[in-house]
């Protein structure tokens, strides 16, 4: 694992928060995923060695929690809430709009590698449904029109990078 020194020092610091090292499993996985983008087998073994665990102890955590992923995703991560309050106000249409805009299906990386659209369970902002998280940012009341607008914005940013 080639982690940045800043990440390594955050890792060493967070381990001190707990009386047992094993408790730092989730924080370490978050820190690694934030830097690398996903959790590789190498990362699982690295975390296990760092915390004095068997790789299976880390592997079973990675495979249980929906936010940890074992494959890279698109440059941007679009998470659309699927659960009832959002669905009642058009969450399925919101998700379909993102899928169309980026020629992709939920759970897959778009052909241009720009986005991964994901249909996720409740994001706890039901009063402003339908809601979408793009990377770390929450977007509220995202109907199909606003989904189109957000897609255009992402596309423009991608274009500007080229």
């Amino acid at each position: 694992m080639n982690l940045k020194p800043a990440t390594l020092s955050q890792i060493d610091e967070v381990i001190t928060h707990y009386p047992t090292k094993r408790s730092a499993t989730l924080p370490l996985l978050h820190l690694i995923q934030e830097e690398v983008g996903f959790i590789s087998n190498e990362a699982i073994e690295w975390v296990a060695a760092k915390l004095g665990l068997q790789p299976i102890n880390v592997y079973e955590v990675v495979t249980f929690y929906p936010m940890f992923r074992q494959k890279p995703i698109g440059r941007r991560h679009i998470k659309v809430c699927r659960t009832l309050s959002c669905a009642l106000l058009g969450g399925y249409k919101t998700c379909a709009t993102f899928e169309q805009e980026f020629h992709t299906h939920a759970g897959e990386v778009s052909p241009d590698g720009e986005v991964t659209v994901e249909f996720v369970e409740c994001l706890a902002s039901c009063g402003t449904a339908p809601v979408v998280m793009i990377d770390d940012e929450l977007h509220e009341k995202v109907d199909a029109a606003k989904a189109k607008q957000l897609s255009d914005q992402i596309k423009a940013e991608a274009q500007a990078r080229k």
Binding site: L29, N57, F64, F68, S85, Y92, D136
Partner: protein, 453 residues
């Protein structure tokens, strides 16, 4: 009669222009003064105040907070932990989000008073993974509070020290269950623990005595310390004291969060007067009163029985609109106040599709530890999805019910009930829609109908 006015105690500063989430702003508004006074009192007195207040947990179960604290094993000689349940994962619930994002120091002050009262020297805030900004805001707020000696070593110059750390979850609903949360905090899969023997108050985090309280509950502790338990108990209604935040979502004109004295507002006042009623041209059909696992209420049904008011038993005969929004009244009519998440559905919704949506959620979130829940939630999802996307049969409602009936009561944690109650209540109350779904599907849907599954 117009609806009673909101009484904002916890949400006093939420959405207030100019109110920021930093320490300076909080202190300017009198922040940490209550904690300073509380630290002058014997800890046992603070526990008594919370017992006297009658405060019931705001996370879902409504268990009296003071009783929970009273169960703590203080003789074990092991450290005592406080775990703040900030997982806010029950669909329909979105209150703790605003406390943590806009007023994090209110939570920290509540935490510190709770820790001092219970001799806790280490607290963890378990925040759901989907709140990355919330986690950063809390970390910054803790650092500010620590620098000002409101937490950390030698709090307020005393010999008492207490650290608070933020621990992020990673998208699993079951982490809202307190023993699942503890397992997660120990770095494992969040498989709930069996009770007995693993009551957190005795064998919690690292097998030490542990208090697990919801964010809103801990904020109330601050206000109980300020006004005293007896005074707090005068707010709300007997056995349902204080205020609580009701989160309304779905088919109403003005969804959002509203704080009322518990039991002082009825469902009808909340939905019609406060939330502006149904959407134009629509009628209310059903409402889930306390998060998606609570049993659904059908507009038009009536609830009759006897209940205690003061010392007397009186008859009640309520429509859904007449039901006071408190733990006991909602419990009496066969559902629950739960986490305060009110989800409203109007007459555009087909209840088979609504149930299919909820069943997909529970099938996704079952931890898989207990066979009835893992298999049952999956089959309920498969059956209800097949009804919508494949061939629906008149007997499917009964089939769903037979699966649900074999889950509740047969699992380690309350997820079994949480995933069975929607199916049981939808089929019981909207049985005709399940019987007639095949025919309903043949009638072409008008354009623009909202897919739920």
């Amino acid at each position: 009669m117009p609806a009673p006015a909101q009484r904002r105690i916890i949400f006093q500063h939420i959405d207030e222009p100019g109110y920021t989430n930093d320490l300076a702003c909080y202190v300017k508004h009198g922040g940490y003064e209550i904690m300073k006074k509380a630290f002058q009192r014997p800890p046992a007195e603070l526990v008594d105040e919370v017992k006297k207040s009658g405060l019931r947990g705001r996370g879902g179960a409504g268990f009296p907070c003071g009783v929970k604290w009273g169960l703590l094993d203080k003789k074990s000689g092991k450290p005592i932990y406080l775990v703040v349940n900030a997982d806010e994962s029950e669909p329909g619930t979105f209150k703790d989000r605003y406390i943590m994002h806009q007023d994090p120091h209110q939570l920290i002050e509540g935490i510190m008073i709770t820790c001092f009262a219970n001799n806790v020297k280490q607290a963890y805030i378990y925040i759901r993974g989907e709140f990355p900004h919330g986690a950063r805001i809390l970390e910054k707020a803790i650092a500010e509070a620590r620098a000002a000696n409101f937490c950390g070593p030698n709090v307020l110059g005393s010999s008492y020290g207490c650290e608070i750390y933020v621990h992020r979850g990673a998208g699993a609903y079951i982490c809202g269950e307190e023993t699942g949360l503890i397992e997660s905090l120990e770095g494992k899969r969040p498989y709930p623990r069996i009770k007995p023997p693993y009551f957190p108050a005795v064998l919690g985090l690292y097998q030490c005595p542990t208090i697990v309280n919801n964010v809103e509950t801990l904020c109330h502790v601050k206000h109980i310390a300020a006004m005293g338990g007896a005074e707090f108990a005068k707010i709300g209604t007997p056995n349902n004291t204080g205020t609580r935040i009701l989160c309304v979502s779905g088919h109403v004109q003005k969804p959002g969060y509203y704080e009322f004295e518990v039991g002082k507002i009825t469902m009808g006042e909340l939905l019609n007067d406060v939330c502006g009623g149904p959407l134009p041209g629509r009628k209310f059909k059903a409402v889930i009163p306390g998060g998606s696992s609570a049993k659904v209420l059908k507009f038009g049904e009536r609830f009759k029985g006897k209940r205690k008011v003061g010392a007397e038993m009186v008859d009640y005969d309520w429509a859904v609109e007449d039901v006071p929004m408190d733990f006991d009244c909602l419990g009496m009519i066969g559902t629950m106040g739960g986490s305060g998440g009110v989800i409203v559905m109007d007459d555009s919704v087909n209840m088979v599709e609504a149930l299919a949506n909820i069943n997909a959620f529970y099938a996704h979130e079952s931890c898989g530890q207990c066979t009835p829940c893992r298999e049952g939630s999956l089959w309920m999802k498969k059956i209800s999805s097949r009804m919508v996307h494949g061939a629906a049969r008149p007997e499917d409602g009964q089939l769903l019910k037979s699966v649900a009936d074999q889950i509740a009561g047969r699992t380690i944690c309350a997820f079994g009930e949480a995933c069975a109650w929607p199916t049981q209540s939808y089929v019981a109350k909207f049985g005709d829609e399940f019987k007639g779904y095949a025919d309903a599907k043949k009638t072409a849907k008008p354009g623009g109908v909202t897919d739920l599954i």
